[in-house]
């Protein structure tokens, strides 16, 4: 594939602080090919694209276009090279119609000093006629369907001749019919000689649409070739790394702690929610002492599911804590003994204008009253709690009266757990327990989670870190496109099985016996 490639990325490295987002990533594209870029969450796909679009500069490695080394120093440079990007979160101006959006950032046709709306529309209509004749050109983007917005983006990309169109998860928000339309457009682009770099979590789509592929894992290219020479199972194996060392990474569970005394216990958390597309059901139960992992690719609905159980976003269906339906909203959940550690500690977790100890006291403010009948918190009680909690979590802080902004990521994360330790926890909902946290703190947080579980709580943990998932979970639920597609435990809980389910693929029939084998 190298012989015909017009664009080749070689050995790209990109650091963000201590994390290596790209670690020797290679990619080669030939003209008119439809090339799939696949990998798990955090494999480096987005970083690679942003490097290609000039938003990031690589720390090492080369970008070769038509045999010459180039540097792409900004979005304009990428545009001038004929590269077009259709980002996952679409970049349309909501109140502009398709015509207005197509012309943003370009020299508008003019009559005298004024823009020539007729010429603008004519040019866009010409492009649209070729690929999306039914796109309404005069409706503001805000009132287009997701599929039509996608078309508007593509029309914008094709306003001038281009050599490469990069599409990041273009079909993730599209209906089946709209996705078909998009596929037809991709094929047409390719027939016209434009290369398409197609990033998708839908392996069916990849196998169906693309001619070649590159697999990234941990920022490194671990596989590439012609799609005809591979299979779903082959791609999954490369993405998860299970194929390479023949090790199916046997799950090293900390002994299913459910069995000793938990077996007979009643579930402390039970849900029967209408969730995701077509109101598919999310039904599951968790018993005291269990750590249930919730895995799924970005956009699979993990976080919104946790927020629904937490009561922060309204949901339909039933949630029972300890056999009882909690009252509405987070306040009702807290009363029932539920705790929640959100995904984004800076935005959703910490109040940086308050001190560390005040942050710790936030969840149960009424426990710190100086007099039971007066809603006035007593400093001494808060300080006492902060001291005890800090010691328990080994919180490293300059002082309890400093801002949490002065803490390291790991200590900020501990703070969010510490907030709930003042009362017995029955159910703990955790979204990304250790994202962006150093290894030492990670181990400590994992230890704390095990302790909380051992104290009789059921933990529901969403994570995109598959190591973490396999280390902590006694049972794993996998979401794919908003649906609960697999429940894995015991021997069926392997890395390969989790990844396969997350990509909507059944590697063997053991957990979905009814599916017919092709």
């Amino acid at each position: 594939m190298t012989s015909t490639s017009f664009l080749a990325l070689g050995g790209l490295v990109k650091h963000f602080g201590a994390t290596k987002a790209l670690d020797s990533a290679d990619l080669a594209l030939s003209a008119g090919s439809v090339h799939a870029l696949v990998g798990e969450n955090g494999a480096g796909k987005s970083t690679l694209i942003k490097t290609l679009s000039g938003l990031y500069q690589p720390d090492a490695g080369t970008i070769r276009l038509d045999g010459a080394d180039i540097a792409i120093d900004g979005p304009r440079a990428a545009e001038a090279l004929g590269f077009r990007f259709i980002h996952q979160e679409l970049n349309l101006v909501p109140h502009f119609d398709a015509v207005g959006n197509a012309w943003i950032g370009r020299h508008h046709p003019r009559r005298g000093p004024f823009i020539d709306r007729r010429a603008m529309r004519a040019k866009v209509a010409e492009v649209a006629a070729r690929i999306a004749p039914d796109l309404p050109l005069d409706r503001p983007a805000a009132r287009l369907t997701p599929g039509q917005r996608q078309m508007a983006e593509i029309v914008r990309a094709l306003m001038e001749p281009c050599r490469l169109v990069v599409m990041d998860e273009p079909t993730s928000s599209l209906s089946e019919g709209e996705a078909e339309r998009l596929h037809a457009i991709v094929r047409q682009l390719s027939a016209e000689g434009c290369a398409v770099l197609f990033i998708s979590h839908r392996l069916d789509e990849v196998l169906d649409l693309c001619d070649s592929y590159t697999v990234l894992r941990n920022g490194r290219t671990v596989g590439f070739g012609a799609v005809a020479d591979t299979s779903r199972a082959g791609l999954v194996a490369m993405m998860s790394g299970a194929g390479s060392g023949n090790a199916a990474t046997p799950h090293p569970p900390a002994a299913p702690s459910t069995s000793p005394d938990g077996r007979g216990e009643k579930p402390v958390l039970a849900t029967d929610l209408a969730f995701g597309p077509g109101d598919s059901r999310f039904t599951f139960q968790a018993r005291p002492g269990e750590i249930v992992g919730l895995y799924g690719l970005v956009g699979s609905g993990r976080s919104s599911l946790l927020k629904t159980i937490w009561g922060a976003t309204p949901g339909r269906g039933l949630i029972a804590i300890n056999g009882q339906v909690p009252r509405q909203g987070p306040a009702g959940r807290i009363k029932a003994g539920v705790a929640y550690v959100p995904e984004d500690r800076r935005r959703e977790g910490l109040a940086n204008s308050l001190s560390i100890e005040r942050n710790l006291s936030l969840a149960h403010l009424s426990d710190f009253r100086a007099f039971a009948s007066l809603p006035v918190p007593a400093r001494s009680k808060i300080r006492q709690f902060a001291k005890a909690t800090g010691a328990r979590l080994r919180l490293v802080a300059a002082g309890p009266d400093r801002s949490p902004a002065t803490l390291s990521g790991g200590n900020q994360q501990k703070l969010l757990f510490g907030r709930w330790l003042g009362r017995p926890i029955r159910v703990l909902l955790v979204d990304e327990p250790t994202r962006g946290v150093d290894v030492g703190a990670k181990t400590e947080i994992h230890g704390e989670m095990r302790r909380i579980a051992a104290d009789g709580a059921a933990i529901l943990m969403a994570t995109s870190d598959i190591e973490e998932l396999l280390t902590l979970s006694t049972r794993v639920l996998v979401l794919h496109a908003g649906r609960l597609v697999a429940e894995l435990d015991g021997p069926s809980l392997t890395r390969a099985a989790v990844v396969a389910a997350a990509f909507g693929h059944a590697p063997d029939e053991q957990w979905l016996p009814s599916e017919r084998s092709a």
Partner: protein, 311 residues
């Protein structure tokens, strides 16, 4: 309902005019009073058109009234020093543009929230204005030739109305018919996208703030010309009314975006209500109450419509 949402504000203006005309056919409904209303709304509308420009970006300029006062006082002080009219006007307008550019620079370059940047900088301008004027009303040495720029009629049309027409046409063309205007709307609509396609976001923001201040400066000059005097807080009333006009205007057309025609409708509503109620002899506190209620009603009607459209 869709009709009401799309054109509700225009209908409201028509209704208000109709009601006042019926209530007071001879005083309110007379041609001369209607012409008079355009004169009364002229300065407010000019300031509001400037505010519209900044609102298109999704930002606020809360220093407009301070710039109006500054321009009036600066002009009067320069006249008192015996400087010629054209030079005074140029110097004052340039100073206003510089003030707007500084606000815009603070917002665009240093990402100071525009609300805070312009509130603070507006306070600075206010202090400067008091300093120059010593806190007094200035009225000596204002030439009659200058005063004619803000009063009287030309071919039967009040001079302030002519200014308003000129400003409205120029800025409508600028916002609606030029690439610059499209860029402002694009930046306001999706700044991320505007940056990604390499628009000169910072420069455009500075220019928009500068133009906003220029219009406030022009309004200050015209105010001093009309009154024949300048008071250091002479522009104080324009801030809230200008934004009320912009917000009312946003409910008038299209997708709820600020626009020059919309702002004109908004300013007209405010002027008509005030004029009509005064003619009917309604006490001024009731006028404020009604104006506020109309603004709330307009925004509420639009939001109700939105919810239904979303559901």
């Amino acid at each position: 309902m869709i009709l009401l949402r799309r054109y509700g504000t225009l209908l409201a203006l028509a209704l208000i005019v109709l009601v006042f005309t019926i209530a007071s056919p001879n005083a309110f409904g007379s041609m001369s009073n209607l012409v008079n209303i355009t004169q009364q709304m002229a300065l407010l509308a000019i300031v509001a058109i400037g505010a519209t420009l900044v609102m298109v970006l999704g930002e606020f300029d809360l220093s407009v009234s301070a710039v109006v006062s500054w321009a009036g006082i600066a002009a009067a002080a320069l006249f008192a020093a015996g400087i010629a009219v054209p030079i005074v006007m140029i110097v004052v307008l340039v100073s206003a543009v510089a003030m707007g550019a500084i606000s815009g620079f603070l917002v665009a370059r240093y990402k100071v929230p525009s609300f805070i940047a312009t509130l603070a900088f507006g306070t600075v301008i206010g202090g400067l204005t008091f300093w120059v004027s010593n806190g007094a009303t200035l009225f000596s040495g204002i030439p009659a030739g200058f005063r004619d720029l803000g009063r009287g009629t030309l071919a039967g049309v009040p001079v302030p109305t002519l200014w308003l027409i000129g400003v409205a046409v120029v800025f409508w063309l600028l916002l609606d018919q030029t690439e610059f205007g499209r860029r402002l709307y694009a930046i306001g609509g999706n700044r991320e996208a505007a940056c990604l396609v390499g628009l000169p976001v910072r420069r455009d923001m500075v220019v928009a703030f500068a133009l906003c201040a220029a219009l406030a400066g022009l309004a200050g000059l015209l105010l001093t010309a009309r009154l024949g005097s300048a008071h250091p807080t002479g522009g104080g009333g324009y801030l809230l009314q200008a934004y009320a006009a912009v917000f009312l205007g946003m409910t008038a057309f299209r997708e709820g975006e600020p626009s020059v025609p919309g702002t004109l409708v908004g300013a007209a509503i405010i002027a008509v209500v005030s004029n009509g109620l005064t003619i009917l002899g309604v006490p001024s506190f009731l006028q404020d109450l009604l104006t506020g209620a109309i603004i709330l009603a307009a925004v509420l009607v639009r939001n109700f419509g939105r919810d239904e459209a979303a559901a």
